[in-house]
Symmetry: C2
DNA sequence: ATGAAAGCGCTAACAT
DNA sequence: ATGTTAGCGCTTTCAT
């Protein structure tokens, strides 16, 4: 291991001078010193020992993106965005799959023990009073898609605009008789999706009966029941809007396997986008939400929070989503 | 922040005694000391400063799983397995999405700078001479699915057995006229899959013409061409084996959209398993490979490597895969 | 412009 | 069984 001392020795300067130079700030050093020191450092392949530095500065230069699992379709995109913002800022982003039990403790320990400087939490944390713990320990946290209370800064998707876009798209295609399949799961999205969707349709003069507003698992595990209900409506709706991509895919498959063709007999639109939209035929028309941007914003917000003193609670809202037109919706005109 | 000193003060012992007790080893302390110290520690909510500890011990207690992206279908499972093994061993696992440029440097720096003790590399690293760098810097590395050379310990899936199982399953169902779609990508799997598949069929007295052995992108982006070729064969094969799950799903969809029913007219089998197998109809029969176990083994191997002196190169082979029977294959009998 | 020196919190060898 | 002590490598204040 190459130490500051070794570089200092080779360059012929004191260790403290070397330290200053290698931090790259605007300190006053002679050009010669600067040159000889950087040369010596690269020559020796010097790499600062982050544990020693951190012990002094109480900073790690790392942040953690905490996830409950990795198999949610949006996590890769969020992570990629977060990673890009982090590396732009010269900090390291680690993804940490936190355990089911003791998640709050485990996550917060990461910061309290000096493994990271802050946390981006990409999940509702059901139990454990995470945010109280974080506040109490003064651990910087940015939440994703959380807005029910004012406990922490949060970066949220504009789901209101997203579901409005979904509704408008179907209305634009001439659909009037529409079913909506929301997610069972208790989440932020959830509270808005139904409302925003229905309100937007209402503005277009379209009202949905209660029997046209349904619920299913986020991953579409129980779409069979929903399809049964929809096909039992009289008349059968001309379009179905789903609150996830998985639902849309599985609804489409279920319709087709029951002999109901998509989109000729019924149109299906999803919410969120991923590669799987293209894996199926018909490929799935859906609302693409800016998850990449969400990851970026979360990192930037966290870094501000870590630096600046004034902790601003409340939401940062991402750009609106966009309809990605594929094959699963048809125009009625 | 609560320091060792604070605990020592409250408990009425010396800092070094506290240190020994809190490390939990078999050191000789009076029962009273042990009790009073642990009590004081919990009372104060003491958490060891890992940077200070690491500075002394030159260990971080963390390892990194390095991935090029997160959207590969097997990564969540591998990660979950790795996580379980890591937490069993009391170490922290971070997932690190390394940058495209300078990946080798970035990964190795993580260890050299004291952010982690070792690396599990879940990718071929095309450029950058990663393994030379790692060896030269004495950074512990375990590779996943790498076996072409003897540069580092590796944990590999038993793809030979996996593709043999795939072949045997189709043969068991009575298929004789079979097409095989391998992956374009240059990977370990690739070198074995075709061979193992064909050899197994040969053992069953089935030989495939060259025109029955095809290639496509791993993610199935170009299955359309492949479907065209397969449907141009005379006679059309009764079954198609694919070297990935995405290929199998997209082949199935493409067949169906061309009016060729799966499995009644043609059977399709995939390789690897994930939730998406169930998203489509017919659901996909496939070979489930033990990715979870692979993650576990990789962590254990890495920890051995970090502890034990004798670095054993070469492969650790996972359990054979298992056929998951769903709807996309039918028996010919 | 450069150097001297203190100390971050911890561990471990050694002394008692 | 418990305490003393010397650092790990770095940053930073203060002196020169």
């Amino acid at each position: 291991m190459v130490r500051l001392k070794d570089v200092a020795h080779l360059a012929g300067y004191d260790i403290s001078t070397v330290s200053k130079v290698l931090q790259g700030g605007n300190i006053r050093v002679s050009a010669e010193a600067r040159e000889r020191i950087t040369k010596a450092a690269t020559e020796l392949g010097y790499r600062p020992n982050l544990m020693a530095r951190g012990l002094r500065t109480r900073k790690t230069g790392a942040i953690v993106l905490g996830l409950p699992r990795l198999d949610h379709p949006m996590y890769p995109t969020i992570t990629a965005g977060a990673e890009s913002a982090a590396s732009e800022l010269g900090i390291v982003l680690f993804v940490y799959k936190f355990p089911e039990d003791g998640a709050a403790e485990a996550l917060i320990n990461l910061v309290l023990q000096g493994r990271a400087d802050g946390i981006i939490l990409a999940a509702e944390m059901a139990n454990g009073g995470f945010h109280e713990l974080a506040k109490q320990s003064d651990v910087p946290v940015v939440s994703l898609n959380r807005s029910d209370d004012q406990v922490a800064p949060s970066v949220v998707l504009d789901d209101e605009a997203g579901f409005a876009a979904q509704a408008n798209y179907l209305a634009d295609l001439g659909h009037r008789d529409i079913a909506f399949v929301g997610a069972n799961e208790e989440s932020r999205s959830n509270r808005f999706c139904e409302q925003a969707f229905l309100r937007t349709l209402a503005q277009r003069g379209i009202s949905l009966g209660n029997d046209h507003v349904l619920r299913a698992e986020f991953d579409g595990a129980d779409v069979e029941d929903v399809v049964g209900i929809i096909l039992g409506l009289n008349p059968i709706p001309t379009a179905v809007a789903a609150a996830s991509l998985a639902m849309a895919i599985r609804l489409t498959r279920k319709f087709e396997s029951k002999g109901v063709r998509v989109p000729s007999q019924i149109s299906v639109i999803g919410y969120h986008d991923a590669a799987q939209s293209e894996w199926v035929s018909p490929s799935i028309t859906t609302v693409s939400m800016p998850s990449y941007q969400q990851g970026q914003l979360a990192v930037r917000r966290l870094v501000e929070l870590m630096q600046g003193g004034d902790v601003q609670l409340g939401e940062t809202v991402c750009s609106p989503g966009e309809i990605v037109i594929r094959e699963s919706c048809r125009s009625l005109d």
